[in-house]
Symmetry: C2
Subunit: 195 residues, 2 copies
Amino acid sequence: MTYADFMTQPRRRDKAATRAALLEAARLRFAQHGYDGTGVRDIAGDVGVDPALVFRYFGSKDRLYGEAVTVEVPAGRLGDPDRPITHITDGLLHDVVFADWEEFDGEHPLLVMLRSSGRTAIRDQLRERICADYLQGFAERMGGPDAALRAELVGALLLGLGVMRSLIGSPALSDAAFEETRTLVARMVAALADD
Amino acid sequence: MTYADFMTQPRRRDKAATRAALLEAARLRFAQHGYDGTGVRDIAGDVGVDPALVFRYFGSKDRLYGEAVTVEVPAGRLGDPDRPITHITDGLLHDVVFADWEEFDGEHPLLVMLRSSGRTAIRDQLRERICADYLQGFAERMGGPDAALRAELVGALLLGLGVMRSLIGSPALSDAAFEETRTLVARMVAALADD
DNA sequence: GCCATAAGTCATCGATTGATGACAAGGGAT
DNA sequence: ATCCCTTGTCATCAATCGATGACTTATGGC
């Protein structure tokens, strides 16, 4: 049997595998084209399966989206409260901004949600996750009267980096080595933390 | 004649005024719900006019979007090449990030485009404008071997600030006074410019 | 006041959307 | 080999999409 025969051959029936394949295809589609720009037929077409299965396995397009972009984000290695803030941002830069989220076409799920932020439900979830998962941890390590504000400035920097890298595709940042960027970011964050 | 009568009264026929009203309604809708989340009927409905007029005056939804988000952005007061970079970012922070773009529902047109970045044409235009209008000016004032990278870090910070403020709506940054934020941003940028 | 032109409306097209339920077919257990 | 439950397909619905062209109505010049 040739390879072409193998590919055109009907796939073996497996609920779990099909469901997982749909989920992965949905992640890619939503990441590239946003919620409104992605159709159920597109996703099912990528997997090579009937669109009706999407509704059988996920109930609705909304629930599929919810399950697709919901991923346990590393809380940011916020373990030791005495750890300097630049170590935290180093870790986040590496794990969140520079990490290759291959299941989301290389983009962080938060940036994927950004592209679908026209829907208020998605925007609310986005704010909720950014504030709870990241900003609060920053603020606790900042100290001072305007700790919250400075924490959000750090968040803005990291978020902006992600947007520039994967969404805009700015030339220098996209090509830069991690270590080079890390040094510069650490400088900016340190300037913010000093009193 | 009561106010209700006045409102339900058919508006006076005026091509220029209707066209302008459609354009403004389009800006608001696109800003809030993105390209795919906005229908021609929604826009026309806001103005209280027939959807067919959109095509008569703008040709297509695509061209309406193009005309709606295209706005002459202040080039960033890049006049004097000797002006320190922090002065530039001060001005941009004030005119671009903190400015209230009322015709775009308070958001900067670039952030509006961000919400529609699922469409590759929009994403390309977005990158083009950010690189040409801002990053290049930054890089010229940076100097050093990695000027381009550091320029994009400044751009990432400003872009992230805009996203946090208007798109995410993070609490501290949204409420903070301009002067307070300006001081902290200047600190971060200065740390980047020093050798 | 009439009339031509511009402004706005209406009906409708074809494609696509999310979603539903009836139906066909594969696969393991007996 | 047969049976039955699970998996996947098909046909289709109602709504909405962008878009088009024919029609109606208001308005300014005479």
